[in-house]
């Protein structure tokens, strides 16, 4: 275990990036002014599935002020974005496979001219039948990926007569990331055949691969720099590779800087979303509440291209049964191809869908057993020495029971459970619980992207430049990594400057996802810092010099203080055929208690309080940690109560903030973040990571609370007033009427 005598780690250090943000001087992509830059724009498909029978850009090219009009034929490199299956074109060539798919690009001297050029492009389509329903796509065999878990013998277990079995089919909607900054990129020709791409993104190395591939140039000629990014949540993981490659093509073709900034409507229509899901689940337990077997059939709608769907599905697959001891488990999961917008990464990454099902099952099971839902969880909770359903034996840092105890205490669970049950009258309160666990990092399918680098340079005045390959997207990376760098170097945290990620500064460090940044970049920084300390120690010995004095002495003795660091996580093994092995290196654990008030006449649900507990290992900065929890919980409440997309013929109907509803300041309850610290030995100072868990187990806690308040089960979210009201109508109509 790490020594806990830290001085900077664990403190509420102020965010170094906050002053510029509160002054309005932080420069986001749309704030950058580049002299002579052109406006880029994208012609997009109006159809879900069609053959392009004519695409004539000749007239558009003749408009004065239009500098480039590009189609698939004008791409010098490869017309496929490098991703897991590399099936996603930069520009549609013969077929369009979703509404909004890019067909042609223009660059012009003004926004108006770019729009005019788009209108002038002559394009004709032959419409083709579109697969718009995931069950239909499954029947049609359009499976992009299929994973499974086989543990024990589910069939025999379910055949036993002495078990209590509950089952259900659960549906979850699209969820929009709804970052307040739409996607945007600027491409600048580097004068030597390459392009520098600046933009809003989570993963500069993904964009770099897309740019190099489209241009047909070396990765080193495709330099990518992240600008201050206005929110990501997974939406700027895979999706920005498309505008990144597109803007690079335009910059390359025109020899001029080109800006491509999406409007809110365009962003909502074409950028990635959380996959809609359908889960069938059977859960069996003994009469005293010991889980015996779980069977899961998990289906996701991937949309037109695979992007990250296979790994999104994988995460959901291995976490499908929750943080419980389950001797027999069988999971079948598939993601199917439809003619809709490609879904991709979103905070939680394939877990929220299946956790909604799994935890709803646990609440149902508790009811059937006449058991307190908290007791059911505690009885089956994973602890040290237990195995996950993939047979991963957890040997350390399993704080799940502590998390359950802490959220129960914070919420005064038992008392409120009894008190709220006595509510009469039209408005009734309820309290519900849900839990999850989360394998941190890229796991068995993403091992090749696992390592991360860092570059540390100590200047003569003692200030330190830290470059990493992961990104600040609001989560607090700069703050946390500054603390780790200061702790590891022994320097004042104010002297640490984490600079903008730039692919030319550090080796490919993988994506900024999966709660991996604190641990991976943090360990890379510690590696580099150790090298610098090793260079310093012989010079300063035990002289008791301050940091600045020590640095000055090193300069005097001609000792260079700079180093690259590299972090490679411990190896894991996994068998995809059986779904057995170490799916991820280690896990964080989370539970939420949600209190609601249901208006049984209108069906309106108001969240009153959320007690959100997380075992995240050592908390590097409690303020940014709490911020992650509060923000994730509210995204989870949105998912539970209001957020969904409506589509017609594959077209998203609600593409703006007045129709895609996210919580406002008047919609949020009291949120109590509870951070439980079971240190993880390989993590920097015992940290595990936190970004994802806060969103995952919110929705099932909300619907459990609604059930407690109003006695209705919702197997589909969001729990809109219409849905709650309809369920209440069915319940009041009596048991015969409500039976299907």
């Amino acid at each position: 275990m790490e020594d806990t005598g830290t001085t900077v780690v664990g403190e509420r250090v102020r965010r170094p990036d906050a002053p510029d943000k509160v002054k309005g001087t932080a420069l986001y992509i749309d704030d950058l002014a580049l002299s002579g830059s052109l406006w880029g724009a994208v012609l997009r498909s109006p159809h879900a599935h069609a053959r392009i029978t004519r695409l004539d850009v000749a007239r558009a090219r003749t408009i004065p002020g239009v500098r480039a009009v590009l189609t698939a034929r004008d791409i010098p490199g490869r017309n496929l974005i490098p991703m897991i299956q590399s099936d996603w074109p930069v520009l549609a060539a013969e077929f369009v496979r979703h509404v909004g798919e890019a067909v042609a690009l223009v660059a012009a001297e003004s926004r108006d001219l770019a729009a005019e050029a788009l209108r002038t492009i002559a394009v004709e389509y032959e419409r083709l039948p579109a697969l718009l329903d995931m069950e239909e796509a499954l029947r049609a065999g359009e499976v992009m990926a299929h994973w499974k878990v086989r543990r024990g013998d589910v069939q025999s277990a379910l055949g036993r007569g002495d078990l209590v079995v509950v089952e259900g089919t659960y549906r979850t909607p699209y969820q929009e990331h709804a970052y307040i900054e739409p996607n945007g990129m600027i491409g600048v020709p580097d004068g030597r055949g390459g392009v520098i791409v600046y933009g809003s993104m989570q993963c500069p190395f993904y964009v770099q691969k897309a740019v190099a591939s489209a241009l047909g140039c070396d990765l080193a000629r495709a330099r990518v720099v992240q600008t201050v990014t206005g929110g990501g949540f997974g939406g700027k993981e895979d999706a920005p590779s498309a505008p990144g490659a597109q803007v690079a093509l335009l910059a390359h073709a025109t020899g001029r800087p080109v800006r491509l900034i999406l409007s809110r409507e365009e962003d909502m229509a074409v950028m990635s979303k959380r996959h809609p899901g359908r889960v069938r689940m059977r859960t069996a337990a003994t009469r005293d509440g010991e889980l015996v077997a779980v069977e899961v059939d998990y289906l996701l709608d991937g949309g037109a291209y695979a992007t990250l769907s296979p790994v999104v599905l994988f995460r959901g697959t291995v976490h499908a049964c929750g943080p419980y001891r389950i001797p027999n488990a069988r999971v079948e999961s598939r993601v199917v191809r439809t003619h809709k917008v490609p879904c991709g990464a979103f905070r939680g990454f394939g877990e929220p869908q299946v956790v909604f099902a799994c935890e709803s099952q646990m609440d149902r099971l508790a009811e059937r057993l006449g058991m307190d839902p908290l007791m059911l969880r505690l009885k089956n909770a994973l602890g040290e020495g237990d195995e996950t359903i993939t047979g991963h034996k957890l040997t350390s840092s399993v704080g799940f029971r502590d998390v359950l105890d802490r959220v129960a205490a914070s919420s005064d669970w038992s008392r409120k459970r009894a008190e709220y049950a006595r509510d009469a009258g039209p408005v009734r309160r309820g309290i519900g619980l849900a839990a999850c666990y989360y394998g941190v990092g890229l796991g068995a399918l993403g091992k090749h992207l696992n390592p991360a680098g860092a570059s540390l340079v100590v200047a003569g005045d003692g200030s330190v430049t830290v470059a990493v390959g992961t990104t600040e997207i609001g989560q607090g990376m700069i703050t946390v990594l500054s603390q780790i760098a200061a702790e590891a170097l022994g320097c004042p945290v104010e002297l640490v400057h984490v600079v903008e990620p730039d692919t030319s500064r550090v080796p490919d460090s993988g994506p900024t996802v999966a709660s991996r940044t604190t641990v991976m970049s943090g360990n890379a920084i510690r590696d580099a810092a150790a090298k610098i300390r090793a260079a310093m120690e012989p010079v300063i010995a035990d002289s008791g010099l301050s940091w600045r004095e020590a640095v000055a002495l090193c300069a005097q003795k001609q000792v260079g203080l700079a180093a690259h660091g590299w972090a490679v996580p411990p190896a894991i093994t996994f068998d995809l055929e059986t779904g057995q092995g170490e799916a991820y290196m280690y896990y964080t654990f989370s539970a939420n208690v949600v209190e609601v008030e249901v208006d049984t006449e209108t069906g309106e649900t108001r969240a009153l309080a959320v007690h959100s507990g997380h075992d995240t290992g050592k908390v590097i900065n409690p303020t940014t940690g709490e911020g992650q929890v509060e923000g994730g919980v509210v995204q989870g409440l949105g998912y539970a109560l209001v957020e969904e997309h409506a589509l017609k013929d594959g077209r998203i109907l609600n593409d703006q903030f007045s129709t895609y509803i996210i919580p406002t300041p008047l919609d949020v309850p009291e949120i109590r973040p509870i951070l439980v610290e079971h240190p993880y030995a390989w993590g920097p100072y015992g940290a595990k990571g936190l970004g994802e868990t806060p969103v995952i187990a919110v929705a099932p806690a909300v619907t459990a609370a609604i059930h407690h308040a109003a006695g209705i089960r919702l197997d589909e979210i969001p729990a809109t007033p219409e849905r709650v009201w309809a369920a209440l109508q069915a319940k009041n109509a009596g048991p015969t009427a409500s039976r299907p």
Binding site: K23, G230, Q475, T623, T624, E630, I661, I662, L666
Partner: protein, 447 residues
């Protein structure tokens, strides 16, 4: 093509004079012409509040204002907030951890400043309401509330700015009298379109349904402003904002349901700019100010160069997004008979607590004699092609008592003709009309 026009304003306490294209929004003027990029464009439709600035002391979405509308105004942006040091709000956002990705923060800080300038000791409820026009997707708002609460009561570094720059008066685009405004409509009939609060017109412009180059401003037309008693009536100028109606004791006395309706519209930025005339002209069946007007026998006053006519509000609307308003006419104001002892209530259901368009709304107006209903008006929004009165429901309610209320609930369900749309379903709306009716009547009776 857009003209070039002269503008003058006080921006962050400095006089600014410049020439700019007439079709720029205030947000474009700030970001593109003046390179003040603190205000962000998150949606361009006044939904996210990331572009919030303060105009003449009120928070406003700069994406929903035309640049010519700030001629002569005092405008504050995030860039002008810090003096020698940071503003207490900026300090508080840093100290409490209220900042994550930061894209919403300039708008949050400006909305917070507008709130604290008016209400220096704002409590948590006021803070939530004051920030309700601003979306954040990172923080869950908790630490943002804490930041504003921390700054509340701390002395602001600058005294409130005072208008000092005389307007450049860009003629055509900003008429100062009704006569001028009507001339513009007549001469450029069909081409020139008026804009006031911009909360509907500039949303349509973003969707390409309205050219910004053809807009001219009504907010400087003196005859459209004001809320007053005239000849035994309440008169509300078409240019009255939702905020002004909320703040008016006269409105609260004559149509109690109207300020209640105004209070749930949008967020502070929308209420500060959106006007009664605009809400009428937009002719949405879900418009929240309209059921109260139906439930108060309001009359809409229309005016053109050659005519003036009065139209009972129920005859003003002819369908969804349709009204009798002619292309050369303006809405002058609304007249409401003053009825002694009137009580009222407005209730609605939306998809969330702020920034929501109504799924169903109910306005009730009643007077009582000896504890029995004497005069009853019931109007409903978002349940028919226009806002509707419910005469059978009113008749039932006149009887008084619980049985009457039960019959009224049944009657109202028969009197509405709701549809399924993105916001809700027909069946739910019909049932909720009855639920809201009962709740509104009970509130009125118990008032």
């Amino acid at each position: 093509m857009a003209d070039l026009i002269d503008l003058a304003l006080t921006l962050n306490r400095q006089p600014v004079r410049l020439r700019a294209r007439s079709d720029l929004r205030l947000l474009d003027l700030l970001r593109d012409e003046l390179r003040l990029t603190g205000a962000k464009e998150g949606c361009g439709k006044g939904e996210c509040g990331a572009c919030t600035v303060i105009v003449d002391g009120h928070a406003a979405d700069s994406c929903l204002m035309m640049a010519f509308q700030v001629d002569g105004a005092v405008v504050e942006t995030i860039e002008g907030l810090a003096g020698a040091g940071l503003h207490p709000l900026q300090d508080a956002f840093i100290e409490t951890g209220g900042v994550q990705c930061g894209i919403c923060i300039p708008g949050m800080v400006m909305a917070g400043k507008a709130l604290l300038d008016r209400q220096p000791q704002a409590d948590l409820d006021s803070i939530r309401a004051g920030l309700a026009g601003n979306l954040c997707r990172c923080t869950g708002y908790t630490k943002i509330f804490a930041a504003v609460a921390r700054a509340a009561g701390q002395p602001a570094p600058h005294p409130p700015a005072v208008a000092s720059t005389p307007p450049a008066a860009p003629g055509y685009y900003r008429p100062r009298s009704l006569e001028e405004a009507l001339e513009i409509l007549t001469q450029r009939g069909g081409e020139a379109r008026p804009v006031a609060g911009g909360t509907d017109v500039l949303v349509k412009a973003k969707d390409g349904q309205q050219s910004r180059a053809s807009l001219f401003d009504l907010t400087a037309v003196a005859e459209l402003r004001g809320i007053e008693e005239r000849d035994g009536h309440l008169w509300i100028g078409a240019g009255a904002t939702h905020t002004e109606m909320i703040d008016s004791p006269l409105v609260a006395r004559v149509i109690p349901s109207l300020p209640q309706a105004c209070a749930v519209i949008g967020g502070p930025q929308i209420r500060n700019r959106g006007t009664l005339g605009g809400n009428l002209a937009n002719a949405s069946p879900a418009a929240d100010t309209v059921p109260p007007l139906y439930a108060a026998d309001a009359v809409v006053e229309l005016v053109s160069v050659s005519s003036r006519r009065d139209m009972p509000v129920a005859q003003f609307f002819t369908g969804p997004r349709q009204s009798v308003l002619a292309p050369d006419e303006l809405i002058l104001g609304v007249r409401v008979p003053i009825r002694a002892g009137v009580r009222g209530c407005f209730l609605r259901l939306g998809q969330r607590q702020a920034q929501a368009i109504s799924k169903v709304s109910v306005a009730v107006g009643m007077t009582f004699r000896d504890g029995r209903p004497e005069w009853v008006r019931v109007a409903l929004g978002a349940v028919a092609p226009t806002v509707v009165r419910a005469p059978e429901t009113e008749k039932a309610l006149l009887e008084g008592g619980y049985e009457a209320l039960r019959r009224a609930r049944e009657a109202v369900k028969a009197e509405v003709v709701p549809i399924d749309d993105l916001r809700s379903s027909r069946a739910y709306r019909r049932e909720m009309a009855a639920v809201l009716l009962e709740r509104a009547v009970r509130r009125v009776a118990e008032a």
